[in-house]
Assembly symmetry: C2
Homo-oligomer: 612 residues x 2
């Protein structure tokens, strides 16, 4: 009798986690992307391992082939180090110069990256389980991992505190900028605005409906240039030769005033009418940097239309416009991949836009923006607190909504200034006063959406979960603070963790941003319809001449081709940047930071001491 | 000098087609799906052969590999004959019973069929050239071939008459039913209504906007059951246990009256309130056959919800509903493929729904309904002029909009009657009075959309173009009439040709319907998101029990599981149908047509003599 009692208690104890929690899925028992499903009996569950390379009660047993693959596969960190290592550069130089090798490798990169993203997606943001709406409902973000189940012992599942630390406390302890911390890879604020201009094409949260709702087209659709729909497009079009309406101010083409083109744009109340411009994206009056990109791209559209008209004198306005739009879309993807992504990745391999290597591969030409991608791309620390335009310092309050600054200095000088000013480091203690609220909101939204913890996402994206707080931050001080607040490294929140994790060697970010953001980026770019076999041909773009514009587009050509006179510096990295001058311990501080980067005639009192 | 003059005239003559026509693309000079693009000089053009297996000025030269493939590839007709031949049946029986062989073949069939469809599509219905909207604008049908260029010498390009024959004349000469011509494969009107119920889920022309506009979800999305959007869905839902609202009448579950569920449904003016039902598709009150399917599927949804609730007592209404919808969607595709498509194809190979064979293949899980597919699927000759329900004959006027007939006879007797009555032959001289206007409208819409001629579509879908009018019709009389009207077989219109072409051996249709409709069907069915790797697993459908419902669904089980009492005959083919009793010459007439097929107590005076 005694033995029976003991056995029963032992059994009870071994069952404890399931007995005490209503929902056994709260502890994420299913491994390797197995899906947890509660069963008929309270506390029972099963793991669905279908279509995975794993089996077993918790999908923990790899298949024979998978076991070999896992054994042979280098870690994500190792691959990264190969890709950035100066000592291996000679190998990459060979690969870069041998087309057949480079094509093979680009194909592998495209596929390895994009295969990590579920396409079509299984989850959206209003249900905790698969729905058909995840694919068909475009007014919702997709999501990669379902939310933390409702009614779990803790907000993060079974680990961590019963109550998460307040966002105010987090902001104060970890995120508030006291001193501007420059990006350790020398990114310029031209890069900052590139990121902002590009990504807000598809990161479009419908805040009125909630943080899971979206008014996005879910991909690179150039709507930020042409408007959200045909009605807005028609407002922005001139109706002649396919061109967009523009006006000449100080000898340069600029967007129209919104009083003349009644498209919805958001400016502060009582903003002067002649400082409000009609733009394809309602929020792009926010920053002169966005206004600059918008202006340059609109000029490019009109320039392309001229080229197309010369090639096709018989084409009407509509065909010139539609084809011009396709060319601009193609150029956008080309520049994003070869200038912007190349800059962010900082790999020795030249990242190229080669749609043809994916023809015939198992690759989905469709895309849904995932809520996690949106959160991860909240890079507000990139934004400095003030701007140096040709030697004059504009604090943020005098810069925001002041599109007219671009007109005042002209696009050339403005571009040059943005190319010379350093962006901030996307990391902790680097949210300026104007973006701190966005940070708080983002963390809160992550809670409303019940994002699973950072470590679950790391596992989902083939990264090792962090084993300790020090492993996460790469130092001791913040690690100790974090531990006090979260108790368990498996309970650290997604976005909080992203901002606090240690930086990767020779990169702007920590590994989570690179290894989660990379797949979503590659997928979103290459899944564009124009990259598919039927679109990707000269006739789609109006013939060889325009197809070549797409195939040879660069950021520099984009600006130089649309700015009269000598071409300014157009660079996502500040000039004279020297790599390697990083504090190896914290991985984020620069030892030197030359003043002259801010233009010859100014000395920036604040930034000049921006060394930690 | 004389020689020079002669040479010049010769040159001029050889250039004549391009000189006399403004647009050289009017003569479709580019072969093998090459894309014709006009050039800078008036009358000049080029063919874009990119990403094709052909090169040369007109994409006429196959690559070496393609040449071999073309040499080895059996004709579409040969493959068809292999697939239907009774003498080869033993081979197919082996393939059907050996899973690994059958899987391999199903994969080939899925891929061969769906690869013919451009996905994502390049063209939509408001532009004559590629636009990004072809993929992103869901309010337009896609199209496979661009329209006949504007300003061509003839409406069909360069061939055929300057003015197309009036639709009135065509209707009178070729399409008006004088005697009901039964489907030569013995299809029942249960098949007719299956086709109508299923396809109107995605063939949804927005007539107010024009024949190229659509309000479709562009795929199998079960919207005809659950409504077009969340608002309609919520109206149709009971809010309890995931179920749809239904009411008990005469001991059976039926849809609610529209007075009780205020969803938009179209009935004639002054239609009695208690004969108007609330259905997911506004037009499905039109035919009691549609109402029958709607009723049975709604019952199935509720039945599935009961099964899910038993498996998951903890699930709320929302999860039961969403998962029930996924199960019903899965069952729909399974039944469409294994019952309906199998019936239409009539192949010796068992056509199965096996999503797993496409995992890892180059296959797009996205779909756009093409305008051509919509036209081709206008199968109104299937509709008889009257219906025999349990021995009582209802002429069309007493049948249309009379959903209450289903209630009067009960779903069992109604199903049995529809299973026993013969559908019409989808061919010439077989549009009854109630559908003749649809025919005229369809031909007119094809002209508004400027569809290229039938033969261009045959080439596009790897079929030999018809070489003569007799080759097209398979007889002399109509061929002669057609020739008088069109002059050139290359100028026969798409839909006109489809109705007039000779029937294929052991099939309901001519080769164009099979070889163009087949690819669009297979693509649309297998491209459904639930067929993709991430969806197609037990947990998506609520576990093994419900996944098995999907995987074992049949039309018979669908009806029998939702009709109390003995199961009626549920068949897409009338009972006692004997194959082979077809006039071998005209290929459409039956030699015998037993009266008793119309139920024991009735003799159908009209149909009994329906032998041509």
């Amino acid at each position: 009798m005694k033995e029976l009692l003991l056995l029963t208690s032992l059994l009870l104890v071994s069952l404890l986690p399931w007995v005490t929690s209503d929902n056994p899925c709260c502890s994420y028992p299913c491994q390797n992307n197995g899906i947890c499903l509660t069963g008929k009996q309270p506390g029972s569950y099963s793991c669905d391992c279908a279509n995975l390379d794993f089996s077993g009660r918790h999908c923990e047993i790899p298949s024979f082939l998978k076991r070999i693959k896992l054994f042979l596969r280098p870690s994500s960190e190792t691959i990264h180090n190969w890709l950035v290592s100066p000592s291996l550069k000679w190998i990459w130089d060979i690969i870069n110069s041998v087309d057949v090798l480079h094509n093979l490798l680009m194909k592998r990169i495209y596929l390895l990256r994009s295969n990590v993203v579920d396409s079509p997606p299984l989850y959206e943001t209003v249900h905790d389980y698969p729905t058909i709406g995840a694919t068909t409902n475009f007014t919702l973000y997709a999501r990669t991992l379902p939310p933390v189940p409702l009614g779990c012992p803790t907000p993060m599942g079974t680990k961590g505190p019963k109550e998460l630390p307040s966002v105010e406390l987090l902001a104060k302890k970890f995120f508030t900028r006291t001193k501007f911390r420059p990006d350790p890879m020398g990114s310029s604020v031209l890069m900052t605005f590139f990121a902002q201009h590009f990504t807000h094409m598809f990161f479009k949260t419908d805040y009125k409906k909630g943080p899971g709702h979206s008014w996005s087209g879910h991909g690179v659709d150039v709507t930020s240039l042409y408007g959200r729909n045909v009605e807005e497009e028609n407002l922005l079009r001139s109706g002649k030769d396919g061109k967009l309406k523009m006006q000449v101010i100080s000898g340069e083409d600029y967007p129209m005033f919104s009083k003349d083109v009644p498209i919805e744009v958001r400016y502060p109340p009582n903003h002067p009418e002649n400082l409000k411009f009609a733009l394809g994206h309602p929020f792009f009056g926010l920053m002169p940097g966005l206004f600059l990109y918008e202006t340059i791209w609109m000029r490019e559209h009109n320039r392309v239309c001229d080229v197309l008209k010369a090639e096709h004198p018989d084409w009407d306005d509509e065909r010139l416009f539609q084809t011009g739009k396709l060319v601009v879309l193609g150029e956008t993807i080309k520049i994003v991949i070869e200038d912007y992504v190349q800059h962010l990745a900082n790999y020795n391999i030249q990242i190229k836009f080669k749609p043809t290597v994916l023809f015939g591969e198992s690759f989905q030409y469709q895309n849904k923006i995932n809520a996690e991608f949106n959160h991860l791309y909240h890079w507000h620390p990139l934004m400095p607190d003030e701007f140096n335009i040709s030697g004059t310092i504009y604090p943020m309050k005098d810069f925001m909504f002041h599109s007219e600054l671009v007109l005042k200095y002209g696009t050339a000088a403005f571009t040059e200034s943005l190319s010379r000013q350093r962006a901030g480091h996307m990391s902790h203690h680097n949210h300026g006063p104007s973006t701190l609220n966005v940070l708080k909101e983002t963390v809160l939204h992550g809670r409303i959406l019940r994002f699973q913890p950072l470590n679950n996402y790391r596992k989902r994206f083939n990264l090792d979960p962090y084993t300790s707080f020090e492993d996460l931050t790469g130092e001791k001080e913040m690690a100790a603070e974090l531990e006090k607040l979260y108790g368990d490294v498996d309970a650290v929140e997604f976005y909080v963790g992203i901002l606090l994790e240690r930086r990767r060697l020779k990169n702007l970010f920590g590994s989570t941003v690179v290894e989660i953001g990379g797949p979503f980026s590659v997928k979103g770019l290459m899944a564009n319809p124009i990259c598919s076999k039927h679109y990707w041909k000269p006739s789609t773009f109006g013939g060889d001449v325009a197809f070549d514009i797409v195939r040879t587009a660069t950021l520099e050509k984009l600006f130089c081709g649309n700015i009269d006179g000598p071409c300014p510096l157009v660079s996502l990295r500040v000039p004279d940047f020297e790599d390697g001058d990083v504090d190896e311990h914290t991985n984020y501080a620069f030892k030197k930071y030359p003043d002259e980067l801010y233009g010859k005639n100014s000395r920036n009192h604040k930034y000049s001491s921006a060394t930690i």
